[in-house]
Amino acid sequence: MTTIRHILTLFKKEVLLEFRQQYSFYGVLLYVASTIFVLYLAMGQPENTVWNGLFWMMQLFICVNAVAKSFLQESRGRQLYFYSLCHPVHFMLAKMIFNAVLMLLMTMVSLLLFMLFLGSPLSHPGIFVGVSCFGAMSISLVFSFLAAIAARAQQNAALMAILGFPLIIPELMLLMRMSAIAFSDVFQSGLLSIVLLLFCFDIMVILLSVILFPFLWKD
């Protein structure tokens, strides 16, 4: 139970930091709004497949920015302080949970803005909301781990993007397949197997991150 308490405390610290230094949260929010607006100016109100593709590309870039900001804003001194204070696994889990929640919020906002600006060609909006929440959290898990790696490599945010894009492609393929189901008028039965596969993928990423983070921590 102390593990969960530690993780919750660290999570609360993250949330508190967000409230105090509001530039991170509002920064990403501004980024979301501006990019969606630019997309609207460029594309108008696109049709299904383009809408789907644009939405997931947006999620990708939002995730890179949001996670980079949250992980890389801590200075080395502060990281050393945390190293002496808490268990690396707790630290990593708290960061991952925080990033997942942040991404969830951002996805909801961007979905709203997408539907507002770019039209709403969804036949099953409920399914799409569920898919986008799940997808956003999955993407944020992979990028959290990559941000941990990039944080060790001279705090380079660009490196995180470079490492991240190949790794995220299989996940994106699954997500696009899932969300395409939400567009079609006929209900297709393949959804559950893809959801299960993505869930297993996420579990694998979480386990790997938790096992491998202590090696990154020793610095």
């Binding site: 894009f165 190949p166 299989p170 090696f215």
Partner: protein, 223 residues
């Protein structure tokens, strides 16, 4: 053992056997594939070789994380490098095969895309290594990434292409090396000629590279 020459000569002999028997031997007459099934000895053997080298690279990365021995790190990098070379050749031979069997070099088949993504993931491994200037840090962080990248291979190349519709053998659940597709003669040449031959060749290349790296490492530490 690795400094001896016998296994290098053996590799040459295996490959000689593979090439001769591969091109001159009889193959079962399959519809659509016809003679292109000979590519089995090259394309599939390349991918097998790649998996073997990535597994060895993973083992050395894990050893490095446990013991912090630079030699293990050098082995891990060089095996990953050879794995990428074999993987690229596998992709190339696959495209050539696709040109004759499916009509185009690249048809956005899930397996092709998965293979390309796997190569990109491992290329990112090298980008990561080069971006870190401190040698120990670079070794440790790239070892961590190597484990992650290897775990990513499985969904990308094996699981997802098998689940979706694909032109490549192995889509929609049926296994790729089906016993109905290749006959006994081909199986002998494949398992006893192609795989050992290409694997030993890759081992030879990696061995040479690691020896060079070890020499330069010794030179640096002794100066």
């Amino acid at each position: 053992m690795l400094r001896k020459n016998w296994w290098k000569i053996l590799s040459f002999l295996f490959l000689l056997y593979t090439f001769t028997a591969g091109f001159l031997g009889n193959v079962p007459a399959k519809p659509i594939l016809n003679e292109t099934i000979r590519n089995l000895y090259f394309h599939v053997a390349m991918w097998f070789g790649m998996m073997i080298f990535f597994i060895v690279s993973l083992v050395y990365s894990l050893k490095y994380l446990r013991h912090n021995n630079s030699v293990h790190d050098i082995y891990a990098v060089e095996f990953a490098r050879t794995g990428i070379v074999f993987g690229s050749l596998g992709l190339l031979t696959g495209s050539v095969w696709a040109r004759w069997a499916w009509g185009a070099f690249w048809s956005n088949d899930p397996k092709q895309i998965g293979a390309a993504v796997a190569l990109l993931i491992y290329l990112a491994y090298f980008v990561l290594r080069n971006s870190l200037t401190d040698r120990d840090k670079s070794a440790r962080i790239s070892a961590v990434y190597n484990v992650f990248a290897f775990a990513m291979l499985f969904p990308t190349i094996w699981i997802i292409p098998r689940m979706v519709e694909s032109l490549h053998p192995g889509g929609m659940g049926n296994p790729a090396l089906d016993s109905n597709d290749i006959d006994k003669r081909m199986r002998v040449i494949f398992w006893f000629g192609a795989i050992p031959g290409w694997t030993l060749l890759g081992l030879w290349i990696t061995n040479l590279r690691t020896r060079i790296q070890l020499l330069s490492l010794n030179q640096e530490t002794n100066v």
